[in-house]
């Protein structure tokens, strides 16, 4: 994947003499120092990042962290005080007014926190707006707008006034308006923050589904870490105008870069962050061709596992449990094949842990299958719960240290 959007040392200072504040920043002065020395407010203090094509890049921060300023600098609704924004290799910061407009029309579209729908236009006309600024003829833009409205499930509301719609529906219109211009980059400024929790969860799910189809490059702003973790391919945590950590959801939660990040991650739903892949262990599978009941029992004892999977010609044949094998060994025969349980739980490596609780209830380790249906690893039920219980500020080794304590 190529780099779609690159930001280099972006700075925004609100005040009379931004250049002076930029120099102070370069000398390593802090935001507070600059405020006391010059009275100017530093909104964003030197942020670098790059977003890959087709990626959802989430910037998460509390209010006042500069995240809204940051996203507005990408399409220059707010002029950066210094730094560079590069889209597909072209600098948008150097663009003159015409070129900037072309960038905004052809490459960027934005979705706003409070929807920003035009109240004097119908829903359809709102969706047409971006096409209208481009000069698309009325017939064509109408067709396109209706198509987009159908995509977000609001085809029946095309001629209604935006005020007749609920918040969630209004934001769907906002999304349709942004998608109607078929932008390469979607800028989303806290799009779901103003919605009720249930609607918000709905919209998050819909965004993920849409993204699977459309593969847009998305910069998404939020103050909700759970939302960031659900949506973000990569997440940047922003504090006081700069990024304190950039990484995947799992990296942020398992290795928080600072106490600030750790404080955030403490209360999040770890089941929605970690996947089967993060807790699976090597399968140590038995092979029906070479292993016998006896070797199976020995291996389980050595590994300390209650059950193992059995493979035949590289495929899973089933699972065997220690107690079944042991009982069989005491009785008449010890045929490994006879003890195989064929009703075993399976999952994919990217399944989130919160979806695995039911699988864990079977008592067998969960088989993790790769894309070709091969056994990539197994997840022991207790490791799921260990991962959920792990404290944010400790690492993967938590479980052991806690046992000793």
């Amino acid at each position: 994947m190529s780099e779609k959007l690159v930001a280099e040392r972006l700075v925004k200072v609100f005040g009379d003499d931004p250049d002076r504040a930029v120099r102070l920043l370069e000398d390593g002065k802090s935001k507070a120092d600059i405020l006391t020395a010059t009275g100017m407010t530093v909104g964003v203090s030197g942020v670098d990042f790059s977003v890959r094509e087709g990626e959802i890049f989430v910037v998460m921060g509390l209010s006042g962290s500069g995240k809204s300023t940051l996203i507005r600098m990408i399409n220059r609704l707010i002029e950066p005080s210094s730094g560079n924004i590069i889209i597909d290799g072209d600098s948008i910061t150097d663009a003159d007014e015409d070129a900037l407009r072309t960038f905004r029309r052809d490459k960027l579209a934005m979705v706003f926190q409070h929807f920003a729908l035009f109240p004097h236009r119908s829903v359809r006309e709102n969706v047409e707006f971006g096409l209208k600024t481009r000069g698309v003829e009325p017939g064509k833009r109408r067709v396109r707008a209706l198509e987009m409205l159908d995509q977000v499930g609001l085809g029946a509301w095309a001629e209604a006034a935006p005020s007749a719609l609920s918040g969630g529906m209004q934001q769907r219109v906002g999304l349709a308006r942004a998608l109607a211009v078929d932008p390469e980059i979607l800028l989303m400024d806290e799009p779901f923050s103003a919605l009720d929790p249930l609607i918000r969860a709905d919209m998050q799910g819909e965004l993920v589904a849409l993204q699977d189809k459309l593969k847009k490059t998305i910069v998404f702003i939020t103050h909700d870490l759970n939302e960031a973790l659900i949506l973000g391919d990569r997440i940047a945590i922003m504090e006081e105008g700069h990024f304190v950590q950039v990484g995947t959801a799992e990296q942020i939660v398992s290795e928080p870069a600072s106490d600030y990040v750790a404080a955030f991650t403490q209360d999040i739903d770890r089941g929605r962050v970690f996947t089967a892949g993060s807790v699976m262990v090597p399968p140590e599978a038995l092979d029906l061709a070479t292993d016998t009941s006896q070797t199976a029992l020995e291996r389980m004892e050595r590994l300390g596992r209650d059950a193992l999977y059995v493979q035949q010609d590289g495929r899973i044949a089933g699972a065997v449990r220690y107690r079944d094998l042991a009982a069989a060994a005491r009785g008449n025969g010890a045929d490994l094949r006879a003890q195989i349980i064929t009703d075993y739980p399976t999952t994919a490596p990217d399944t989130h842990l919160y979806r695995m609780f039911r699988l864990c209830a079977s008592g067998l380790p969960v088989a993790v299958l790769d894309r070709d249906g091969r056994l990539a690893g197994v997840v022991e039920p207790e490791s799921v719960f260990n991962q959920l219980a792990a404290r944010a500020d400790a690492g993967a080794a938590t479980a052991d240290t806690r046992l000793q304590a």
Partner: protein, 313 residues
């Protein structure tokens, strides 16, 4: 006891006299005569049309406009009021006054709306404009009647020029206010989608400011009407002249005839322009067109569907 005027006096009156009579009038009289030309033409056209129109035809048309904008009640009132004015015997004066007022309002809008837009776009321009508007609103009209007579002469057109000066401020102020109170996030959204400044102005700002701008137009209209009598002092005709004549002869009857005319005209025009400003909100009564449709389509009640389909503009 000594006071400053014992030592130094400021001959302000002389200065102004010299400035206006000695410099402004000789040098710019022709210029001012030229700029009154479009006002002259507009007035002549409107006055000709209004006075040539049969009284009943005009009453019907204005009632229809009242119905279309403000509803049945005002339409009935308009018709009765106009009939009464005709019966009182001030019909042609009423038409002349209406022509003057409309001319003044047209030019106020032509000048005032662009000024308001410019003021909304530039804080500096707004800062310069504000004291000028303040002066225009507070200075007594009698003060500028004299220079107007010197520059433009006497008659209808100078009266309209005085009316324009007096009635201009509200539409400038309210255009400025209306544009500035368009929610920032909508303007931002329009720019984010690559709109040009003029697209933002025409597609977003003006439509959303229209209610406020119409309120300004309404105020301007009312101020213009209130100048009718003062404008008569420098030769404007119409209802103002009727009042002024009554005043000169201490003829209460004539003055009242003119006064009633102005008041009735004011009520009609005020209600119509107010209703224009409220357009797009819920209408209290069916529009004229719908009512007429109802006449030819008996039993055909409105389903309310039309309102849903009608795009909100």
């Amino acid at each position: 006891m000594w006071q400053p005027s014992d030592s130094i006096t400021i001959p302000l009156g002389d200065w102004v006299q010299v400035f206006v009579r000695g410099w402004l009038v000789p040098n710019f009289r022709d210029f001012f005569r030229t700029i009154q030309w479009p006002v002259d033409q507009t007035l002549a056209g409107l006055d000709g049309v209004l006075n040539a129109m049969p009284m009943l035809a005009f009453a019907v048309i204005l009632s229809a406009i009242a119905w279309g904008t403000a509803g049945r009640g005002l339409a009935v009132f308009t018709f009765i009021a106009l009939t009464a004015l005709d019966m009182i015997g001030v019909w042609s004066q009423t038409m002349t006054t209406l022509a003057m007022i409309l001319t003044a309002v047209v030019f106020c809008a032509l000048v005032g709306v662009p000024l308001g837009i410019a003021a909304a776009r530039s804080d500096r321009f707004a800062a310069v404009l504000r004291p000028i508007l303040d002066i225009m609103q507070t200075i007594p009209p009698f003060v500028y009647l004299v220079p107007i007579v010197m520059l433009f002469g006497v008659g209808m057109t100078p009266g309209i020029i005085a009316t324009i000066i007096f009635a201009l401020p509200p539409i400038v102020r309210l255009t400025n206010l209306g544009l500035r109170s368009v929610p920032e996030n909508l303007v931002e959204a329009a720019y984010a989608f690559g709109a040009t400044r003029s697209q933002v102005l025409w597609d977003v700002q003006i439509p959303l400011a229209l209610r406020t701008i119409m309120a300004g137009l309404n105020q301007t209209l009312m101020l213009a009407l209130s100048m009718a009598v003062i404008a008569a002092l420098i030769g404007a005709g119409g209802l103002g002249l009727t009042v002024y004549t009554g005043l000169g002869r201490l003829d209460v009857g004539t003055a009242t005839e003119g006064g009633i005319g102005i008041v009735l005209l004011a009520i009609i025009l005020d209600r119509i322009t107010q209703a224009l400003g409220e357009e797009g909100r819920v209408r209290r009564s069916p529009s004229l067109l719908e009512t007429l449709k109802g006449f030819i389509r008996p039993g055909g009640t409105r389903t309310g569907d039309d309102d849903l389909r009608r795009p909100a503009r």
